[in-house]
């Protein structure tokens, strides 16, 4: 057996958060092949849910990936689920496929399709059904287009008893992220936080998506820092943001545990960028150990 060696030099090989990244994908036709082709085989893949198409494509893709042994985390959006019976069915199908973890959000519909208006309601319903899933919940460093800030922090406090970690909605401004985490910690929200960052994609796409998910404020940062946009390609790369976040990752009182990368399904660029930044290659060795562990027999 030959273990392939990490390709070097890698820019950021000591940056722990790049180690166990999660790649978020949108369940569109063809994405499964792209996951196989581009993402590291041991990746964790999270699958979004869309207000227009409901949860069916999410559950379908998640169960397919999980059945093939890929660690998969589907999003469950409260407002897209009609009732307890549907929820019971979803939890059952995910469990049967070997899904061990879900990400619970309210969902981007003004009016729920059924009886669940909020993530908290869904979490309580899940608990009453009884389930064995690890649960992640969403945090919003910036204003969410549909919810007030105070209500969001209150909701996080209510939700934290049902969850194991928080993922932050993407942001482009490290200061905004740091202040938001500070505020959580001061208000007794102690769950580990995984920082959501946008993968390397075209800025036009980002601006479109950004307005919808309420990250407009920090997108303005993009426009302000000429250096952050390579005008040649009109694309954004997260490198500078990671530099700015490094001190917070290194400071234990922030409780940051890793990265959640929004890929917008641009998996080829995202994986390429991640390798170059210092992600693990297949057969990657955790630095610091005896070097001879990569030797082939």
């Amino acid at each position: 057996m030959t273990a392939s060696r990490p390709r070097d030099p890698l820019k950021r090989k000591d940056f722990q958060p790049l180690r166990e990244p999660r790649f978020e994908v949108i369940p569109l036709p063809g994405i499964e092949d792209e996951i196989d082709r581009y993402l590291p085989a041991d990746s964790t893949v999270t699958v979004t849910a869309s207000p227009r198409r409901g949860l069916a494509p999410t559950v379908e893709l998640a169960t397919r990936l999980a059945t093939r042994g890929i660690h998969t985390v589907p999003h469950l959006a409260a407002r897209y689920i009609s009732d307890q019976a549907e929820l019971r069915g979803i939890v059952h199908d995910l469990d049967a496929a070997g899904v061990r973890e879900v990400f619970v959000v309210g969902g981007d519909l003004r009016e729920p399709v059924g009886e669940f208006r909020s993530a908290l309601q869904l979490l309580r319903a899940m608990q009453s059904i009884g389930h064995e899933l690890t649960v992640g919940i969403a945090g919003y460093p910036e204003t969410h287009p549909l919810i007030s800030d105070d209500a969001i922090v209150r909701a996080l406090r209510d939700k934290q008893d049902y969850a194991s970690y928080i993922v932050s909605q993407m942001s482009f401004d490290a200061r905004v992220v740091r202040e938001w985490v500070d505020q959580l910690r001061h208000r007794g929200i102690n769950l580990p936080v995984r920082i959501g960052i946008a993968g390397p994609v075209g800025t036009a796409r980002l601006l479109r998506v950004g307005a919808r998910v309420g990250v407009g404020d920090s997108l303005r940062v993009l426009r302000k820092h000429r250096g952050m946009i390579q005008h040649v390609s009109g694309s954004w790369t997260p490198g500078r943001l990671l530099d700015d976040l490094a001190p917070a990752f290194a400071d234990p009182s922030y409780g940051l545990v890793g990265l959640h990368i929004y890929t917008f399904n641009a998996l080829a660029q995202t994986a390429q960028w991640w390798y170059e930044e210092g992600g693990r290659r297949p057969g990657h060795v955790v630095e610091g150990g005896p070097a001879d562990l990569t030797s082939e027999e």
């Binding site: 057996m1 722990q16 166990e20 999660r22 196989d36 085989a41 041991d42 990746s43 964790t44 999980a66 059945t67 093939r68 042994g69 890929i70 660690h71 469990d95 049967a96 496929a97 070997g98 061990r100 973890e101 608990q127 009453s128 009884g130 389930h131 064995e132 690890t134 649960v135 992640g136 008893d161 049902y162 969850a163 194991s164 970690y165 910690r185 007794g188 102690n190 769950l191 580990p192 234990p252 009182s253 922030y254 409780g255 545990v257 890793g258 297949p282 060795v285 955790v286 630095e287 610091g288 150990g289 005896p290 562990l293 990569t294 027999e297």
Partner: protein
């Protein structure tokens, strides 16, 4: 008078030998402890080298001290469900669950991995406490029709990113179909074994439970060792650095009879099913504790000062006392130096108000009083992405055969 800081451990007939005792000894055990009244190899010379071997390769552990309490009989399901805080109706035949056994006041008596081998057939793969006696005591005159005994079964752990390769070598592609926390029966050159995708590492890993261990253990060990050689398999002791990094607790240290699930931070969402059908021992107390909230909690701490050791090297012979504002407020129950985080990390049982992230306390490590800060636990990979990785990819088969997996299907 002077203290001998490194006295020897007496090997003699009265302390039990695990079925692997003579097999693991040949690899040069450097230190034993006693666990379930049984000699337990703790390391083979250098725990830090063992840590890197686990992180980067594949390792074999003698964990014959994980004695198996076997519960069978027509009432085995109902009886076992009474002993544990989780809802066993959610545990299929062929599935494993990490469980707590609690007493009437909610104190944790043991935190075994439970294996469900049949509708009414369970193994409790024990941490260090006498659950055979407890279970028999509970069953005595209870009216439950169950048989409880210690099975002649002993496990080894095969753990690390290359463990799937070794398991494939031993059992073929079918072993890769075992889902995380599921089990399957195999034979190894005629020896009956149960393989589960579980372990004490937060890395990808497996346990191989050898049946009729008093007869088969040594031969099974040798077969595993041989199969592992082309993959760089190394024999190591249980890696406490990795389990502390990964938020895995140790009964007798972080968890005792006097701690309850809500204090160790495992009560709210999944370890305690207060609303499961049927009663369980400790339900009333835990319902009350949950409503009132625990008064103390186990927190993650980063501890300054000189590097501590590896926990299983004799560097932490007792808990460290914790002080805040000059008062003693709690104790560090496990701690070590993490070579990759380049920090001392550990767990401290503290009053709830001191468990907010960023709170500073002082820890007396025995050699100095060091500053410590409360941080989220675990220190690495809180959602266990690593042990849940795609093993088809790790073992180099690319992808599943498409055959229905053992377990989740």
């Amino acid at each position: 008078m002077s203290v001998n800081t490194n006295p020897q451990m007496l090997l003699y007939p009265r302390i039990r030998k695990s079925p692997f005792f003579y097999a693991s000894r040949r690899h040069g055990v450097a230190m034993y402890s006693v666990y379930n009244h049984t000699y337990h190899p703790r390391h083979y010379g250098d725990p830090v080298t063992e840590y890197w071997a686990l992180l980067n390769g594949v390792t074999l552990w003698d964990v014959g001290v994980e004695r198996q309490v076997e519960i069978t009989g027509p009432d085995a399901f109902d009886f076992t469900n009474l002993l544990v805080t989780r809802d066993l109706s959610k545990c299929k035949v062929g599935q494993c669950k990490y469980v707590f056994l609690t007493d009437e006041s909610g104190g944790i008596l043991n935190d075994p991995v439970l294996l469900r081998l049949g509708e009414n057939h369970f193994w409790l793969s024990l941490a260090d406490s006498d659950i055979v006696l407890w279970a028999r005591g509970v069953a005595y005159r209870s009216g439950y029709d169950v048989q409880i005994h210690e099975a002649d079964v002993a496990p080894v752990q095969v753990q690390g990113p290359r463990s799937a390769e070794v398991m494939r070598e031993l059992f073929g592609d079918a072993v890769l179909d075992i889902g995380y926390y599921y089990l399957h029966e195999f034979t190894l050159d005629g020896i009956d074994v149960i393989v589960s995708r579980t372990g004490y590492t937060a890395e990808v890993g497996y346990e191989i439970y050898v049946r009729d261990a008093s007869l088969n253990a040594e031969r099974a060990w040798d077969l595993i060792w041989q199969a592992g050689q082309p993959h760089g398999l190394q024999v190591i002791g249980p890696c406490h650095i990795r389990r502390i990094e990964g938020g895995i607790l140790a009964h007798g240290a972080d968890i005792t009879f006097d701690t309850n699930p809500f204090e160790v931070g495992m009560g709210y969402d999944w370890m305690v099913s207060l609303d499961k059908e049927g009663d369980f021992i400790g339900k009333e107390a835990l319902t009350r504790i949950r409503a009132e909230g625990p008064t103390r909690k186990l927190a993650g701490v980063e501890i300054g000062g000189a590097p501590l050791g590896s926990f299983n090297d004799g560097s932490m012979i007792d808990v460290f006392s914790v002080r805040h504002d000059g008062r003693q407020v709690g104790e560090v129950t496990s701690a070590c130096y993490s070579p990759r985080l380049e920090k001392n990390i550990g767990y401290a049982m503290l009053p709830v108000e001191l468990t907010e992230l960023g709170v500073h306390v002082q820890v007396d490590t025995g050699s100095e009083v060091a500053d410590a800060v409360v941080v989220p636990k675990p220190f690495i990979d809180p959602t266990k992405d690593r042990p849940k990785q795609n093993v088809y990819a790790l073992a180099g088969t690319g992808t599943s055969t498409g055959a229905p997996p053992h377990g989740p299907m």
